[in-house]
Amino acid sequence: MEMDALQLPMLYGRVAIAVAALSHALCATFIVGSSVIGAATETIGHVTQNPRFERLSRLIAFTLILTTAGISFLGVTFVFLLNIFWPQFWSHLFHIMFWPLLLEASFFLAEAIFAYTWYYSWDWANQHPSRKRWHLAFGWSAAASSLIAMLMIDMVASYMLTPRPPDDTWAKLFNPTMLYLDTHRIVGNLTWTGFSLAGLYAVGFLRSSREVDRVFYRWAGGVCFLIGFGALLIMPAIGYQYLLRVRHIEPQAFYTLMLGARSWLFDLVAVLYSALVLFGSLYIWRSVRAMSTNDEGGTARRALPISLLVLAVAGLILSQPYQLQHIPGMQVLTDRLINPLGKMQPNKYFALAFLVVFGLMNWLFFFRSFADRFPWWQGQSGTEKERSSPGLLITLSLCAMLMMLTMGWARETARAYNGYLIYGQVRLEDERSTYEGVKNNAATPEAAARRPVSP
């Protein structure tokens, strides 16, 4: 059976796969995050009998089912594109990771069933108190299914960067970076989903005309921001552990990302992280400042401006690139190859520590403000200053989205830049016959002999 050569530059295939993978991943991570946050907010609402949480979880459920519909089709598209542009890699990876991939799809099916049941049985559940437990079970089942589906796909994704022998089932599934990647992604999903939901409710706030809706959206945006910002502060610790593993197992990939040709991507992640902490703290300051002046929140009002200043300086240092030569277009501005300010140790470590510690302090101020007698989210409508807070939430959600995309790209490019689709096992070059026909088929013995094989 002869395959038609695609007769395209390989770059086209790489771009198509990258676009499909990133858009798929963006929605998939949102589903994991929103199913967990949605189930949690409904549970809090049920326990505290707070109708605001009930309304919030219902809104989250609505976004969840819309995303589930979108992602399921993006998933099909992604699989189609993989089979068209990288058929040899895909069929080999499938042969090695058949069960995790099949289980991933099966748990996503379960997630879709539970999520739809959850959303469409809301009115039914509210008719009788005993039904509410069933309803909560639907929500948590959707969340659990999406988390397991993600675990399965993380087995595959981590295997591609740090593979083990394919016949050793446990070693390949629980490869050296699997747990680190999964933990990193769970927290990352909460960050991105928290910020993006906050951004959505900021839009809802700007669009709503009734005061009761504006108060709700302001509160909902604050709650989702609290989740996103809290998770953001945990990210560096997990990310650091993850990178340490990559450094030990695949030093070439680590080098590419931290000091090599793709280090500019990690610089971009640092810029976005700094922006998220800084803008998030600015949002907290604006919210706390909007509280009615009384004894409550006095410490926060005094500490937050200082904190913002420290964060701005720390963010500036963290964002400094070290290897200037690898930043596209930088040669136009300077001939220097290295920027000493951008050294990881000690500059960036200190900067990161300040960002996390001061960010945490601000988060605690914000968390406490929800319990005040005159909360910040009530009774500030119509003032000029409040209009910037929804804008900040939207900015934060866009930054979070960019960071998710950049981190995904960074992880994939650490392999692809060194020519691998599965590190040390399958190379991009092996797929050349798909594009140019059998004349350069890397599967032939001669081609296989030419290709270096990693240990």
């Binding site: 399921s72 099909v76 068209i84 016949d167």
Partner: protein, 405 residues
């Protein structure tokens, strides 16, 4: 390509076996997809009719809600199906997708447009209708239009696997001899199962409407669904004949294996379901005949006898066809005769209707799926007739094991 220095055995699905696993998820996906396609096509038409009849407007909303609700489940079932195909039949899957990549990308683009239109159509139903009903109907029609390229593309790939066209471009491959007959046959089949499913839902809800005021609405659903289901069902033998004749002309050996090969029992099962659906439709209108005194007692015995004869003639195509056409003629005549004498509201009521309608829905789905199984089986042992066989898949597995070793 890969030098792992290790061995990895071929993938085998336990208990079910590889082919049955792919078949199971394909059939599950196909049922939901067929219903969704038919409902999407029906929704704007009912909404248009709903300008005069509010029941039809509500029906359009129910149909769209079904489509939206089952969409994700149906698509994920498709993902599982595709993953199984890649894992278990990689040679066929890679080859097919390679040879249809442009139509696939075209179908994907069209499907995305459909999604972009369908979701506002459903989720902003009242808001958009408040602006302009015509605009809203146009949105629904647009969603229905955008789903068609996807359906036609998949039918083209399915038809190609049975009657491939070699030495041709991608679009010519899609436009293979059995493509159009298959498109027509499946589309009518989609309407058949959608109609009967709608009728079953209406009958089930009409018997327990909760709010008594809703009973006429559910009766309306039952009547509409049954009309569509029956209309499509009566058309199916003709579209099926067209499809069978095209297969006979393009791939006589495949046609022969359908009739007499190891998968012939599927054909007998199909004929049995066909006979049962005829009987179910007849039962559904028995009440009308009683009401109008139009008993036609000789036919009350003759009709089931003819249906039984159809089952007995399953192995004889000419006799089978005669029986089918006679049954179609009798069904139309008895219906026309009875319905002319009674208002349609009383036509489908009351008591036994629910179980008969549910039975008809189940039978129509079984009939639809059996046809799919027959079509797929007729290629065996090839996966793409005359091009790729199951042997090629085994050879690939062996090569893979060798490479891994």
């Amino acid at each position: 390509m890969i030098d792992y220095g290790t061995a990895l055995p071929a993938i085998q699905i336990p208990l079910l076996g590889n082919s049955a696993a792919v078949g199971l998820f394909s059939l599950l996906h196909i049922v939901l997809a067929a219903l969704s396609v038919a409902f999407m096509l029906m929704a704007p038409l009912f909404e248009w009719k709903g300008r005069k009849n509010p029941f039809d407007r509500d029906l359009a909303l129910v149909l769209t809600r079904f489509t939206v609700v089952v969409f994700s489940v149906s698509t994920v079932l498709a993902v599982i199906m595709v993953e199984l195909m890649i894992g278990l039949f990689p040679v066929t899957t890679m080859w097919m997708w390679n040879h249809f990549r442009i139509p696939i990308l075209f179908g994907v683009a069209s499907f995305m447009l459909m999604l972009l239109v369908l979701y506002p159509y459903y989720h902003f139903w009242e808001r958009l209708r408040a602006c302009s009903i015509t605009l809203h109907i146009a949105l629904g029609a647009l969603a229905a239009f955008f789903i068609l390229p996807w359906v036609f593309m998949l039918d083209g790939m399915g038809a190609f696997m049975l009657t491939p066209v070699q030495e041709a471009g991608m679009w010519e491959r899609l436009h293979n001899p059995t493509w159009l007959p298959l498109v027509i046959h499946r589309m009518v089949g989609n309407f058949m199962i959608a109609g009967y499913t709608l009728a079953a839902y209406g009958a089930w809800r009409a018997s327990k409407p909760g709010d008594p005021g809703l009973e006429p609405y559910y009766q309306h659903l039952l009547y509409r669904g049954w009309t569509i289901g029956l209309g499509a069902f009566l058309l199916q033998p003709f579209t099926g004949l067209l499809y069978a004749l095209t297969i006979h002309r393009a791939a006589p050996d495949a046609h022969e294996s359908l009739m007499t090969g190891p998968y012939a029992p599927w054909l007998y099962a199909q004929v049995l379901f066909l006979a049962l659906v005829f009987l179910g439709n007849d039962l559904l209108t028995k009440h009308v005949r009683t009401l109008t005194g139009n008993r036609q007692r000789w036919l009350d015995i003759g009709f089931p006898a003819l249906a039984a004869l159809l089952v007995l003639c399953a192995a004889y195509p000419e006799l089978r066809r005669v029986c089918v056409y006679l049954l179609i003629g009798l069904t139309v005549w008895r219906l026309a005769d009875s319905l002319a004498k009674t208002p349609t509201g009383a036509a489908l009521f009351p008591s036994t209707v629910r179980s008969v309608a549910l039975g008809l829905a189940l039978l129509s789905v079984l009939l639809y799926l059996t046809m799919g199984v027959i079509r797929e089986s007729s290629r065996r042992p090839d996966t793409v007739r005359g091009i790729i066989s199951l042997q090629d898949e085994l050879r690939h597995q062996a090569r893979m094991e060798g490479a891994l070793r």
